[in-house]
């Protein structure tokens, strides 16, 4: 085992001096993702706020058919715009998000006490017009309710008769369980970080060593090859874990700068939670290190290895993407699936649920088992002379 430790120490020393390794493992993931997250939240929040607070500029066609409705809209703060020439075209070209058209039969129907038609012209497939559409419809609905009640009262009927049921919201979600975005985003980021943290090291210690022509002389030393490879994988694992730990710490630091209400109320990530999450994702670092080392060992050069890595980085994304498209309830058997189980577990931890110890055990054991199988394969790869000399 002495050889293994020697290789490990040398790789750590060498890579700590490597700006590329430090940047990729210890800076990129831990800094970029949390900042991206905060930035995204602020952007969403401010865009939403801006749309909600902006005066509603509403072009109306046929305003003369419903003067009292127009007055109502103006009282509610809408700014009525003159009749546009081609309302459909205006909406299509995004000049305005929504236009209403009061049809000529409106006064007639109104006076007869029949539903009077109003068209709301909009394109709901455009995300940014959703807020104004909601506002316009809400105003129209409110006006309708108001007039409806008045009409009933005029005929001596209690308006309550028209509301046979009353819906009350009883909200059982806690502040933490509302943190949907964090529940999806944090596991996703951590899975990717485990892989990005390992990528450079896995490539540099194998394909890189081959490319620099230092692999052949290294293997002439009286140290079993599995020890040399394991020493390298150990270094890669340590860098990946450092990357994960730093990412978590960095999330912890940026959380207070999140816009209020982004997650409900308090998602603080206390020390205990951080440690639980780190424990949950650590086996992924081993899995990533083994898998990436295995693949990079086949490459003749750093560049060739890089071309494989683009595809590999998709692997940690798959469970998160499934989870995003189809949020499912965590069940025991799912804990046997590496990457997927971590996604579910981190979700549970953030939501503040108590997670059964058995679930942690299964997730860690299944991920470690696959990681170790890959590690054994990778450790014995350089017993094949073809792979050692493929660069020369």
């Amino acid at each position: 085992m002495k050889g293994l430790i020697t290789v490990f120490r040398k790789e750590v020393r060498e890579n700590i001096r490597d700006r590329r390794a430090l940047f990729n493992s210890l800076l990129l993931g831990p800094l970029l993702f949390p900042l991206l997250f905060v930035g995204m939240m602020w952007f969403l929040e401010s865009a939403e706020k801006e749309r909600a607070e902006k005066t509603l500029e509403l072009p109306v066609i046929g305003a003369e058919y419903a003067p009292s409705l127009i007055r109502f809209l103006e009282q509610q703060g809408a700014k009525i715009q003159p009749e546009p020439e081609n309302p459909e075209e205006m909406v299509r070209s995004q000049e305005v998000p929504v236009v209403i058209r009061i049809l000529p039969e409106f006064p007639e129907k109104w006076n007869e006490g029949l539903p009077a038609p109003i068209e709301v012209i909009s394109d709901p497939s455009r995300q940014e017009s959703n807020a104004p559409i909601r506002r316009v419809k809400g105003l129209l609905y409110g006006y309708g309710q108001q007039i409806g009640s008045l009409r009933l009262q005029l005929r001596g009927v209690s308006p309550q008769l028209a509301s046979p049921i009353m819906i009350k919201d009883v909200d059982l979600s806690t502040a933490k369980s509302r943190a949907i975005l964090a529940v999806i985003f944090l596991p996703y980021v951590l899975m990717i970080t485990a892989f990005t943290g390992a990528t450079h090291l896995a490539m540099d210690t194998t394909a890189g060593e081959k490319e620099r022509k230092s692999l052949e002389p290294l293997l002439i030393n009286p140290v079993p090859r599995w020890q040399i490879m394991t020493g390298k994988m150990l270094t890669t694992t340590v860098f990946a874990m450092a990357s994960l730990a730093l990412t978590l710490v960095s999330f912890r630091i940026v959380l207070p700068y999140m816009p209020v209400g982004a997650f409900g109320m308090d998602l603080t990530l206390g020390l205990g939670t951080l440690l639980k999450i780190l424990l949950t994702v650590s086996p992924v670092a081993i899995l990533a290190a083994a898998l990436l080392t295995l693949l990079a060992s086949f490459a003749k050069s750093y560049r060739e290895a890089q071309s494989y890595m683009g595809l590999v980085i998709l692997i940690p994304m798959i469970p998160s993407l499934i989870f995003m498209a189809n949020p499912i309830k965590a069940e025991t058997w799912m804990m046997n699936i590496p990457l997927f189980s971590q996604n579910l577990l981190i979700g549970e931890i953030i939501r503040g649920e108590t997670v059964a110890l058995g679930w942690y055990g299964m997730s860690i054991a299944s991920t470690l088992a696959i990681g170790l199988v890959l590690a054994v394969l990778a450790a014995n790869l350089y017993n094949r002379p073809k792979l050692i000399f493929s660069s020369s």
Binding site: G3, P217, S392
Partner: protein, 244 residues
Amino acid sequence: MIVVRNLHKAFGDVKAVNGVTFEARDGEITGLLGPNGAGKTTTLRMLYSLLPPDQGEIRIDGLDPTRDAMEIKRTLGVVPDSRGLYSRLTARENIAYYGELHGMREAAISARIENLTATLDMADFIDRRTEGFSQGQRVKVAIARAMVHEPQTVLMDEPSNGLDVMSTRALRHYIRSLRDAGHSVVLSTHIMQEVAALCDRIVIIAKGEVAANGTAEELLERSGCDSLEDAFVKLIGSEEGLLA
């Protein structure tokens, strides 16, 4: 002492080494001479147990590389064709890494590095990172790390490749000093002058086979030529690759 008998190695259809037999004694410099692609590097790789032979027998001080690989690696000092150094480590750290891999103690390693620094004249750059080293400096570090554990048998693949005149002179001087200290030195080269200047015993390899084997005088005698150059050409049967 190295004994090689009837060594064979093929890569697919290509017979890289096809029945090579020779001996390399202690206190002698043995040169494997042959054109590029003659099978010299493959032969050396089988000696230092990185490639298993298809057929044939190798004994290095009585040990068999296919069975006693770890033991053999402890007694061998190898400067292979690939001499990549770790550019983010200093020359001293590069050499010490190999000492540690050989299981040497720290004190022994630093004493040995002092010794090698003096012998190979590396004092100017021993504590510099190897990034940007000249070819000559690289070869010196590669030799030093191969010799850190004081091996009895030394294998060098084209050691003077890419060296200038002064570095080559220093290298030859060092190799002779190894021989005088009783080591068995085997080096491969495609440069005739190198063999003539350095080697006690010459093994001419062409197309994976030994074309001739003996001291310089014996080769002259056998070929009936006046100069070594003519003798090589005659023994190999072509001039290919022999003109340095």
